[in-house]
């Protein structure tokens, strides 16, 4: 594997961090994905996020029609343990139905420990700047626009999950070309009619 487990993953971490700080901006993980030259049963962008964020202290859940191979890969490469969809610190969802379900069942933290709300990483078809989703909130000067290649059920599920701030879940979106965007729980998402 050409991927450097420290320096390349730090770059991935910085990109995720920048995406969370600047919701609607799109980061490109294709360079790092290219270095991950293994035959893998899951989207390399999704795996890079897992490699950068997970260790044995964290738990994760894979929401997918066929989750076993993906679970095993993430677990063996990060030493993180699997947990149920409502207990996992990180949820990796592959597919439209899974995304909505994963957001709805993920843990939202408690009022004492809102930071324990899950991070939900969604695999989407595509991500593009400019588009029908209007984003506003901390980190966005006025509004930002995003197009997400995923059936829109997830938007309502996310809004319902994040209704009681500071409780909620933070979303990371990764598309098939290893582009990444983030929607922290503080971001308001509106669909432009």
């Amino acid at each position: 594997m050409k991927l450097d487990a420290v320096h390349d993953l730090q770059k991935v971490f910085r990109k995720v961090l920048a995406a969370v700080a600047d919701p609607g901006s799109i980061a490109d993980l294709s360079g790092e994905a290219e270095l991950l030259d293994l035959d893998l049963p899951l989207n390399k962008g999704m795996l890079l996020v897992a490699l950068a964020l997970l260790d044995a202290e964290t738990t994760f859940n894979v929401a997918a029609a066929d989750s076993e191979a993906r679970e095993r890969t993430i677990s063996q490469m990060t030493y993180a343990k699997t947990a149920g969809p409502a207990e996992a610190d990180f949820v990796f969802a592959f597919g439209t139905g899974e995304a909505t379900e994963a957001i709805a069942s993920a843990k939202a933290g408690s009022l004492v420990d809102p930071h324990l709300g899950a991070t939900v990483v969604l695999e989407v078809e595509s991500l593009e700047a400019g588009g029908p989703l209007v984003l506003s909130g901390p980190g966005i000067e006025s509004t930002a626009r995003l197009r997400v290649g995923l059936d829109p059920g997830w938007i309502a599920a996310r809004a319902a999950k994040n209704v009681e701030f500071p409780l909620g879940v933070d979303l990371v979106l990764v598309d098939r070309r290893f582009r990444l965007a983030a929607l922290p729980r503080t971001t308001q998402v509106r669909e432009d009619a």
Binding site: D55, A56, E57, Y79
Partner: protein, 376 residues
């Protein structure tokens, strides 16, 4: 206006950092981190112990960068530690299963296996040795090869396995040591979840083991001098040596059974040098009708590297905190545990240097107003 002030500050800070580098290099000589690791064993051990990170090379580098300041080196090491992924937990290490390098008892002259003095400053005259000014690498190499030719027996003997019975077992066999059930509860980690009181013993031992050497020593000394209920304690056994660390197979099926199975299916990670101390503390037990009997309690101290004073002080504080009577300060866990950490103590004191312009101005205003009102 605020923006201008911030820019000015940024430039001044850059200049200050550059000046710090100048101070480190101004005598025209650089310090080799490898030389720090080789020749400053005590400081390396102290920094690893207070940082709770066992890495001699990183500790030496931190010491070089910090120009020898332990608090700054510990801060650097703690910051580095916080960036590391936590991939594995080792199996519990039995500090008695140690390759002993030094093992002494102040309680019994004839401990099983004998007293092994090992390397210690305890038996030196504390006279500054001016010949060290002229010491050269060649001389050192010659002495070293001569020593190893002369004394391999001694080196081997120090590396011998643990004695079958420790001094503590003997006191226990006499029925004089308060019996305690084994506690195999999963230890809590204060670096993962902030401590809440009352603390568990694992949290206490963790905080003391990573405590600032001077602070732990000072509080242990206070306990010894009578600011606790401690009667004169005796070191039952102090041992310095190397213990092996094993990590269990991370992919073993969950709940694969007892520790025995886990130990077989585990990986050798390496060995670390530790100091472990068991102290015997006499405590009076009231038996009624004015009759008092003496019994012993055990205090335990453990530290990365060879840090004997700290480990002994830790064992005294461990026993103090177990006593349950919070009236003496050194037996009050909130007092002891919240004040012995190097980064927390130096950090909070250092924060007094940060700008408090607004809070101080408002304090000044209220003082002036109060005085003005008094005169009126």
């Amino acid at each position: 206006m605020g923006y201008v002030a911030v820019k000015g500050g940024a430039e001044a800070i850059e200049a200050s950092i550059e000046r710090l580098k100048y101070e480190r290099l101004r005598k025209g000589r650089t310090l080799d981190a490898g030389a720090v690791e080789a020749g400053m064993r005590a400081l390396v051990d102290q920094v690893m112990s207070e940082a709770s990170l066992y890495d001699e090379a990183m500790a030496a580098l931190s010491i070089k960068q910090a120009e020898g300041s332990p608090e700054e080196a510990v801060f650097l090491m703690r910051a580095f530690r916080s960036t590391l992924p936590r991939s594995h937990y080792s199996l519990a290490v039995d500090s008695r299963a140690m390759r002993v390098e030094r093992r002494i008892s102040a309680s019994f002259k004839d401990i099983p296996g004998g007293q092994i003095l090992g390397a210690s400053c305890d038996y030196t005259h504390r006279l500054i040795d001016s010949s060290l000014l002229e010491e050269t690498d060649e001389e050192a190499a010659r002495w070293l090869s001569d020593y190893l030719r002369r004394g391999p027996g001694a080196v081997d003997q120090a590396g011998a396995g643990p004695a079958p019975i420790s001094a503590i077992d003997y006191v226990r066999s006499l029925g004089l040591l308060k019996a305690r059930p084994d506690d195999d509860a999963e230890p809590k980690d204060v670096t993962k979840r902030a401590i809440e009181f009352p603390a568990s013993r694992s949290e206490r031992l963790q905080i003391l083991a990573r405590g600032q050497t001077g602070a732990v020593t000072a509080l242990g000394y206070a306990a010894l001098r009578g600011y606790g209920a401690t009667l004169h304690p005796t070191v039952g056994e102090l041992r310095v040596g190397r213990v092996a660390v094993y990590a269990p197979n991370p992919f073993a099926s969950a709940g694969a059974g007892s520790d025995g199975v886990a130990a077989e299916d585990s990986y050798y990670v390496g060995e670390i040098r530790i100091t472990a101390v068991e102290t015997l503390v006499p405590v009076p037990i009231r038996r009624g009708l004015g009759r008092t009997e003496m019994e012993f309690e055990l205090g335990f101290g453990l530290s990365f590297g060879q840090n004997e004073t700290k480990a002994i002080a830790m064992s005294l504080l461990d026993q103090c905190l177990e006593s349950g009577d919070k009236r003496p300060a050194v037996q009050d866990e909130e007092f002891v545990l919240l004040h012995v950490d190097s980064v927390e103590a130096t950090g909070f004191i250092s924060h007094l240097k940060l700008p408090h312009y607004v809070t101080f101005q408002s304090k000044l205003d209220s003082v002036r107003k109060a005085r003005g009102a008094g005169r009126a």
